[in-house]
């Protein structure tokens, strides 16, 4: 899909620099986006991708540099300017009103919404035409709350197209999609560029970047370290560019799993709001084995994590830990039973942002000696513990007394990982342990999980990234609407076959399983 170099430049960033105190988030970044081109923006978390997009959209003002859209400079600091100039963005977290219809959501904010002609004629016809042209099939009359995640993403794209976006920016668009939905999204993007639109595709999944983009821009530590034609590169070279070092893929050694450490039999848990509960779940976690849980986001992963993490008790069915039914079930009981937990959301659940690294390091063990004696905290002991984690887990930080909010996601995750693993856990619950991390940190976390498995821990790896699950798991379950597929042994299923399960096929009848 490489366009000839002569195609019209639709977006030009020139020397964009943004500093936050001593940190240079964007360092003289310049690039051009041409008409009918998909460029991928690749970079670790904290590399400056988000800052750059925030500057483009006027949320931040750049310290230096200019943005030009279709040859006209954008005034800095005006979020509406970019929209008006024809730049549309689809965020990772959708901004749709669940209680309104697809059409209403698309019209929201365009001024036509309150007009009496709403839904009649012109607007409806235009949406239908856009749907057809771009292959974005979705029922305009359906309530958004009833749609799947993939459909919601299509609504977001339609919304941008309806506002005459000529440049589409997609932020990690495949994180929430099944492989099949990803293929459909790519089909839409190909149609879009064929119709003369331009796309910026932000991702950290190298396979997708290779599949969809014409050029790749690699950001590292706020700098543009590479701009290459996709045809002239490969995954390995891109990964190296991203982290500035060579990466080795995780390797699972063959070994026989040990005894069952945690068993769920026929467990139900109640729904929580929009999130499904568990439905007749059977699961066995064995020593020395990584059990992968694949599935599209929001299909009961949170319920399973809450159950094993001690936040939720089974409403029905049985749970056995080391062969015994636990007497009471709480986060403390889970910790006491040797369950280490890496939560899905490290900002909201994993850490207290305004606590120091020391205070966060002891968050799960503060009540025990030597950190607490007779009600008094021993901060020297706590700081020693934090220093040990910082050293062992290579947490890059100003020191144990720094507030954890100052750390990048990867370093925050390393602290959480260290806190969880230092106790020598028997069972490890890793819920999206590498979401949003750079490749260096991803490799680090993966290697630690594999080391724990080799040392005899039972690991449950919950991830929406199918590649990750397939690379790391000894056995794989697929979760769909709170139900669990049978266990598939490593290497017995292709991504497409798992994708079919992720879309809900195979769950129809209980007997139909496997």
């Amino acid at each position: 899909m490489a366009r000839e170099a002569g195609a019209e430049v639709v977006l030009r960033l020139d020397g964009i620099t943004k500093r936050f105190g001593a940190l240079v988030a964007n360092d003289a970044i310049s690039f051009e986006l041409r008409r009918g081109e998909v460029i991928a923006l690749l970079g670790e978390n904290g590399a400056g991708k988000t800052t750059l997009m925030n500057i483009l959209f006027g949320h931040y003002t750049a310290d230096a540099g200019t943005v030009e859209v279709f040859g006209h400079p954008l005034p800095p600091g005006h979020p509406r300017a970019a929209l008006a100039a024809g730049v549309g963005m689809v965020h990772q977290h959708f901004t749709l009103a669940d209680n309104m219809t697809v059409l209403e959501n698309i019209l929201l904010g365009t001024g036509t919404l309150l007009s009496p002609r709403l839904g009649s004629g012109a607007a409806r016809a235009r949406v239908a035409r856009l749907s057809r042209d771009f292959g974005l099939s979705v029922d305009p009359g359906a309530r958004v709350g009833t749609l799947s995640v993939g459909e919601r993403q299509r609504v977001e794209i339609l919304k941008a197209l309806y506002r005459d976006a000529r440049i589409l920016i997609l932020d990690e668009p495949t994180a929430v999609l099944t492989p099949q939905e990803t293929t459909a999204l790519f089909e839409t993007l190909r149609k879009a560029v064929a119709l003369g639109l331009s796309v910026i595709f932000i991702s950290h999944k190298l396979g997708e970047v290779m599949a969809i983009s014409a050029r790749v821009l690699v950001l590292r530590h706020g700098r543009l370290v590479g701009a290459v034609a996709t045809a002239d590169t490969d995954r390995h070279k891109l990964a190296e560019m991203m982290v500035g070092a060579e990466i080795t893929a995780p390797k699972l050694s063959d070994h026989t799993p040990g005894p069952a450490l945690l068993t769920l039999s026929n467990v139900d848990t109640p729904r929580r709001g929009n999130a499904p509960g568990l439905n007749a779940v059977n699961l066995t976690l064995r020593a020395g084995q990584i059990t992968g849980l694949a599935g599209v986001s929001g299909n009961g992963q949170a319920a399973l994590a809450a159950l094993i993490g001690g936040l939720e008790s089974p409403a029905h069915g049985g749970m056995e830990l080391h062969g015994v039914v636990p007497a009471d079930w709480s986060p403390r009981a889970a910790l006491a039973a040797g369950i280490a937990r890496i939560p899905e959301d490290r900002h909201r659940t994993g850490t207290v942002a305004d606590f120091t690294l020391t205070e966060n390091a002891v968050l799960e063990c503060y009540a025990e000696a030597p950190f607490s004696r007779k009600g008094w905290m021993d901060w020297a002991a706590a700081e020693g513990f934090a220093r040990k984690i910082i050293e062992t887990y290579d947490v890059r930080c100003p020191g144990p007394a720094a507030r954890i909010r100052l750390l990048s996601g990867g370093n925050m995750q390393k602290l959480i990982l260290g806190r969880a693993l230092e106790a020598g856990p028997k069972i490890i619950l890793a819920n999206q342990p590498v979401r949003g991390l750079d490749i260096g940190a991803v490799t680090f976390v993966h290697n630690r999980l594999i080391a724990a498995r080799d040392a005899g821990a039972a690991v449950l790896l919950i991830s929406e990234d199918l590649d990750e699950v397939m690379a790391l798991s000894d056995v794989i379950h697929v979760i769909y609407e709170g139900r669990l597929s049978p266990a598939f042994a490593r290497g017995t299923m292709s991504p497409a076959e798992l994708g079919t399960w992720m879309a809900g096929h195979g769950f129809g009848e209980e007997s139909d399983a496997a």
Partner: protein, 349 residues
């Protein structure tokens, strides 16, 4: 508009903005004085003189600050754990009632034992008053802002009934007031002959104790974790409900000490006008101190000084004492805004 954080605010920003807030407060007070037909400089001078211009004025300010330190600490402790205790007024009166019940001859103890026993009982009463609302919050999800606020009125009516009935002073010539405390139940003066009682000392000690609890103890760590991120605290195994209850007990106890110290240290008996809203003013004190317990002492002295100074100024210059309320309200609003703006700047879109 939205706020864009400033990671490392300059020294100018950190000093200049609060100073600007103070200047704005003074400016608005001056305009009001002008409006009342007085010379603004003279008015402000009189407030300053009335608050700290003489030994008598200074002692009066310290006396007035004492209950505010207690209620300010009560609010600061609760707000730190995101427990919105608006009911310090009710807890104050609970402490005062217990002080009268035990201090009018019920316990035949020498003063050294009697005063601590009464103080402890008062704290317990205040803690129990807040226990109900907090249990409703942790067990049933009832908003504690509403319940603690309404408890203030229930408590005032209860005290009113007590003063007309069981606690009424038989020698009081029909006035709704309690009998006077016996001598052994009174808080002694810090220096004989000066009108400053040990309640002030107890308030300072309490501030230090709260500071130590917050920074050095396991409970303090739990309270801060719950206040900063209850979800992470619950996930980590901190018993959030139990921590809330303990916080409430401490907060209610501190507010009750205000009632105890006013009755046993200053007034000697209980009347319905024991507190001119010390419980509510405690919120201002705590917010001005950014919920820092040692800061509460400073801000209580400031607030007390403004009240005492304005009283004295009003007598001399004929400007209404309402100027004190406006001064405090302005100081609070501008100061809170200024402190917010030291770490973030406003962007208009």
């Amino acid at each position: 508009m939205r706020l864009e954080p400033i990671p490392n605010p300059s020294a100018l920003r950190r000093v200049g903005l609060p100073a600007g807030a103070l200047a704005l407060t003074v400016l608005i007070a001056s305009l009001l004085a002008l409006l009342a037909g007085a010379n603004p400089f003279a008015t402000l001078g009189l407030i300053l003189k009335g608050a700290a211009g003489s030994r008598f004025a200074l002692l009066e300010t310290l006396n007035r600050a004492t209950p505010l330190i207690f209620t300010g600490l009560a609010v600061a402790v609760a707000f730190r754990a995101k427990l919105w205790n608006i009911g310090a007024e009710a807890q104050l009166y609970a402490g005062a009632v217990v002080t009268v019940l035990l201090g009018t001859g019920a316990l035949p103890l020498p003063s050294v034992f009697l005063v601590p026993v009464i103080a402890a009982a008062a704290m317990l009463a205040g803690a129990l008053v807040l226990l109900g609302p907090v249990l409703l919050k942790t067990r049933a999800g009832v908003d504690e802002v509403v319940t603690t606020l309404l408890f203030n009125f229930i408590m005032l009516l209860a005290v009113s009934w007590l003063l007309e009935g069981p606690l009424k002073d038989p020698m009081g010539m029909g006035w709704p007031k309690s009998p006077a405390l016996e001598k052994a139940a009174r808080l002694p003066r810090i220096v004989e002959g000066l009108r400053l009682h040990w309640g002030f000392g107890l308030a300072i000690l309490s501030a230090i104790a709260v500071r130590v609890i917050q920074t050095r103890t396991t409970l303090g760590y739990e309270m801060r974790a719950v206040g900063l991120n209850a979800e992470a605290a619950r996930f980590a195994g901190i018993p959030v409900g139990r921590v809330m209850v303990k916080t409430a007990l401490l907060s209610g106890g501190l507010a009750a000490l205000a009632g105890f110290s006013e009755v046993a240290g200053l007034k000697g008996n209980l009347t319905l006008d024991l507190s001119p809203g010390f419980g509510y003013t405690g919120i201002i004190v705590a917010m001005l101190a950014l919920l820092n317990p040692l800061g509460v002492v400073v801000s209580a002295l400031f607030v007390a000084g403004v009240f005492v100074g304005a009283d004295s100024m009003s007598r001399a210059a004929g400007v209404p004492t309402y100027i004190a309320d406006i001064l405090l309200a302005t100081a609070l609003l501008t100061m809170v805004l200024a402190l917010r703006l030291t770490t973030a700047r406003i962007r208009w879109r």
